[in-house]
């Protein structure tokens, strides 16, 4: 059997009234498993274990017994994709339903892709090695836009037509999710639908609609199914919307082209995280992956209001998971997985209303074991060090990370990261005097209104950190690493209107900064410097704020061999520039138009019809406040500032404290024998 061939597009692919006669669904069940054809290829590729499946926590269910079948993809290599929380949560939520089956698939490396094409092996799931084309729904979770070319590889390898318009009832419905789905326009040609916001309940709703439609005998085919999804007002189906452009290339309007399709599609918000304690059975890979730990979200959302942070804007309001649920998840997650590291995740973990009790409680529970706890947090204050001290009670104090994000007081006001230089120095010195030898400081380059001076102040800050640290500890054995990321303006943030800086300017500033750091040899020796070039950020900017016309660029890059754009060894700036130069002029726009151009208040943005709950007028006001260097407080401890999310989404802030404490664990001794085992 070879790769399923592309079924020709049916002539009556829909007349637009949604009343096409019901056709028998020609969906073909996939071959039971592609494994016999895949297996002989694996000795020829690197790290074959990543394609094998068989992880703890993996589920293989009976194909024929499932009414609805999902293939879930994280469009990057297995080592990055497997630990992804979103996919793991949806995988578990779906597989808990008796009549639903979910399997996972990841991007295959170019060595295997080549062999799969040569031997006609389709994109497969790692669970039961089934062809992705045989599933009802193909859900793809995008944390970053740099996974778009990998989406095209997977669709093509699966034998599914690249363009959504060419697909038939024999093809799965391709649904995009994740943060990048808040502007899915650049991939609107390739996906059938996109879901904004939290996935737990969204996948259940989609499953229900697919189940019902199939049970009815799939009336109206694919078109009817997509229409039913669109009518929920929380699933965006790009084909039901027309985009009109102005002569100058800007968007004139985006309007539904069908009756019953909503003008705006709203994001989903899962309230009460205690009712959704996933992952309960985390996937434990055999292959080495980027995170080998049990990760538990301690809250979702963030209202710190950092203006560059898309995650903080689109996940509002703050919803805490209670200390007791976190404690229970950690205990059960560790018992199930055998992991010895726990990550307490959120956008700003130190902000949990009971973070102190949570950290000391967990530290106490696991004292004397080799379980280590980590708190990836970014707040710059002494409280953070108390927490870190608690978590590293009997462990090593190797490194702490702080993220001032901006080098100067001025730019930190622009981005709304409220931390003074004095606070930062004091915090870092506290860390040094408490035994930490290495501190990492994270900044961004290319921020709106940024000047050379703003970036050069990073050098002053790093010098002062080392100077003060040496004075306080009396030791020269302290280091700091300055790590710099490129700023990318994102949709649904106050910076969505901001112009990007050119890569040459960014690279020039980074060179100056490096010189300034090393200008003092004695201090420079203790300072590490890591940065990213400006070029990948510019392309990420194109994909983040692009519209449907950018789809042609993505396709051209992919056809030219573009893969794994998030990996510096695979990313080619030239290829993207070349593709943009070839494709965009036909639309009267170019790469600069999408990236370095400032948008004005009245411009219709490609994602305006997608509702994150944030009021566009508020975002514009916050953008003006940024330019005026005016800071915005956090609504958790100051009055509501009307960002719009809670009233429009009918949600509210959910925070503690609950006043509960974590109780000491009763140590369990003795071997854990399988139930029913012979003694």
């Amino acid at each position: 059997m070879s790769v399923p061939s592309t079924t020709p597009r049916p002539a009556a692919a829909n007349s637009g009234d949604g009343s096409s006669p019901a056709r028998p669904t020609p969906r073909r069940d996939p071959e039971p498993s592609v494994w016999p054809r895949l297996e002989p290829l694996l000795p020829q590729v690197t790290k074959p274990i990543q394609y094998v499946g068989g992880e703890l926590g993996a589920v293989v269910k009976d194909w024929d017994a499932a009414a609805v079948r999902w293939a879930l993809m994280y469009p990057d290599a297995y080592e990055v994709g497997l630990p992804n929380q979103g996919v793991q949560i949806l995988y578990e939520v779906l597989n808990e339903l008796p009549d639903v089956l979910a399997e996972r698939t990841y991007a295959v490396w170019p060595d295997l892709e080549k062999l799969m094409r040569a031997h006609g092996v389709p994109q497969f799931t790692v669970d039961a090695h089934r062809s992705v084309r045989g599933f009802d729904v193909f859900g793809v979770s995008f944390s970053t836009e740099l996974g778009y070319t990998n989406l095209l590889t997977a669709i093509d390898l699966a034998g599914i037509p690249l363009l959504a318009a060419d697909r038939t009832d024999a093809d799965p419905v391709i649904v995009a999710g994740g943060h990048a789905a808040f502007n899915p326009e650049p991939i609107a040609d390739f996906v059938d639908a996109a879901v904004l916001g939290d996935g737990e309940e969204a996948v259940l709703e989609i499953t229900g609609i697919v189940r019902e439609w199939k049970a009815e005998g799939s009336p109206g085919g694919r078109d009817e199914l997509l229409l039913r999804l669109a009518r929920t007002e929380s699933v965006y189906v790009p084909r039901f919307y027309d985009v009109d452009y102005l002569p100058d290339g800007r968007i004139q309007r985006v309007v539904p082209n069908r009756a019953d399709v909503p003008f705006r599609v709203h994001k989903r918000t899962t309230m009460d995280l205690d009712a959704w304690p996933y992952p309960k059975k985390p996937l434990v890979p055999l292959a080495e992956t980027v995170h080998e730990r049990y990760a538990v979200e301690i809250f979702r959302g963030c209202t710190r209001g950092c203006r560059f942070c898309q995650a903080g804007m689109i996940t509002r309001p703050v919803r805490e998971r209670s200390i007791t649920t976190v404690g229970q998840m950690v205990r059960e997650g560790l018992e199930f997985s055998g992991f010895h590291e726990v990550g307490l995740l959120s956008l700003s973990s130190a902000d949990h209303s009971e973070i102190g009790d949570m950290c000391s409680g967990l530290a106490q529970q696991y004292e004397g074991t080799n379980v280590s706890l980590s708190l990836p947090s970014t707040r710059v204050d002494a409280f953070n060090i108390d927490l870190a001290q608690e978590l590293s009670r009997n462990g090593r104090r190797t490194g702490l990370t702080f993220a001032p994000e901006g080098g100067s007081e001025r730019i930190r006001k622009v981005i709304n990261k409220m931390v003074s230089k004095e606070d930062l120095i004091r915090t870092v010195v506290t860390a040094y005097t408490n035994g930490w030898r290495q501190v990492k400081l994270y900044f961004m380059c290319g921020l709106p209104t940024e000047t050379d001076d703003d970036v050069l102040e990073i050098a002053d800050m790093a010098h002062e950190v080392i100077r003060a640290g040496r004075a306080a500890t009396g030791s020269k054995d302290i280091r700091c690493t300055v790590s710099i990321g490129g700023f990318v303006p994102k949709p649904h943030t106050p910076f969505q209107w901001a112009p990007m800086e050119r890569p040459e300017v960014i690279d020039g500033r980074l060179r100056m900064l490096k010189q300034a750091i090393n200008a003092d040899r004695s201090l420079g020796r203790a300072i590490g410097f890591r940065y990213h070039d400006g070029e990948p950020s510019l392309i990420e900017g194109l994909l983040s704020r692009g519209d449907r016309r950018v789809g042609a660029v993505i396709r051209r890059v992919w056809e030219d061999g573009g893969r794994f754009d998030g990996w510096s060894e695979h990313f080619s700036y030239q290829r993207w520039v070349q593709a943009a130069t070839e494709v965009l002029p036909a639309f009267g726009v170019d790469l600069d138009w999408y990236t370095t151009r400032q948008r004005d208040e009245l411009e219709v943005l490609p994602w305006d019809h997608l509702d994150s709950g944030l009021d566009k007028d508020w975002l514009w006001q916050d953008w003006q406040d940024a330019l005026g260097e005016y800071e915005q407080d956090d609504c958790r401890w100051t009055p509501c500032f009307d960002c719009g999310v809670c009233p429009s989404m009918d949600t509210e802030i959910q925070i503690g404290p609950t006043g509960r404490k974590l109780l000491p664990l009763t140590p369990v001794t003795g071997l854990k024998l399988p139930t029913g085992a012979q003694q």
Binding site: L42, Y51, G54, L286, G338, N370, L673, A677, Q679
Partner: protein
């Protein structure tokens, strides 16, 4: 400290588990199974686990060995069951014996391998094996950690047979398939099944069209009849005495 020696298998798809992958999975399995593993002293304590010559990635095995040190005495049969349950199916713990002394590594003298060569005519393989056996020395090349090395693949091979009546190869489609069985002495640099296949290429231009499937059937001490004895046999009497 109680020391326990363990035999485990790497089967089916999980034969693609690398040694590092297995080591990580095994450490997690120790925690899941509640094994009172002993740790080394020092700044970064490591669990006391030592491995005996692991099969290459992609090669299945019925006979991998390791030894662990324990803080408390455990019943080896229960330990085996608990560890087996804690590992993915396909990484199967087959045997556990309390160590009676001596060194496990010293008892690994040779390995017994089986190589399935789909789409290779057994008669062609027989001729290649005859040429290999007739040679005094067969020099092959392999990339090692020290770079490209050339070494003799012939002298370590104690037995090399083409199976008289090939059984159906495991899980493969019904195509002709030649089967090779090898007993190879543990030497440095080690001669692996793929080195012997390289040797067959050198002496007889044998080029398998499909990736061969290799399995280690046994490793251990070499008997007078060029058979291989389970290295845990020597511990088994001692273990019985220790327990009762």
């Amino acid at each position: 400290m109680q020391r326990v020696r363990i035999r485990y298998a790497k089967r089916g798809p999980l034969r693609f588990t690398s040694h590092r992958d297995f080591a990580r999975a095994f450490e997690r399995a120790l925690r899941r199974a509640g094994v009172p593993i002993a740790f080394s002293q020092g700044f970064t304590p490591h669990p006391k686990i030592s491995y005996a010559s692991a099969a290459p990635t992609g090669v299945a095995s019925e006979a991998e060995y390791l030894e662990i040190g324990l803080r408390e005495q455990v019943d080896p049969a229960q330990l085996r069951a608990a560890l087996d349950a804690a590992l993915s199916p396909g990484l199967d713990v087959l045997d556990a014996v309390v160590a009676s002394g001596g060194s496990l590594a010293d008892r690994i003298e040779a390995s017994h391998w089986r190589i399935e060569l789909p789409e290779v005519d057994p008669a062609v393989l027989r001729r290649a094996v005859a040429a290999f056996t007739a040679a005094e020395e067969v020099l092959v090349e392999r990339m090692t950690k020290q770079g490209r090395r050339t070494f003799d693949a012939r002298s370590a091979v104690i037995r090399i047979d083409v199976l008289a009546s090939p059984e159906t190869p495991s899980g493969a489609p019904a195509v002709p398939c030649a089967i090779l069985e090898l007993v190879v002495r543990q030497v440095t640099p080690s001669v692996r099944p793929d080195d012997v296949l390289s040797g067959l290429r050198v002496v007889a231009d044998l080029e398998p069209p499909v990736s061969p499937r290799v399995i280690r059937l046994a490793q251990g001490t070499l008997t007078a009849q060029d058979a291989i004895a389970d290295p845990l046999d020597a511990d088994r009497d001692g273990a019985t005495i220790g327990e009762r």
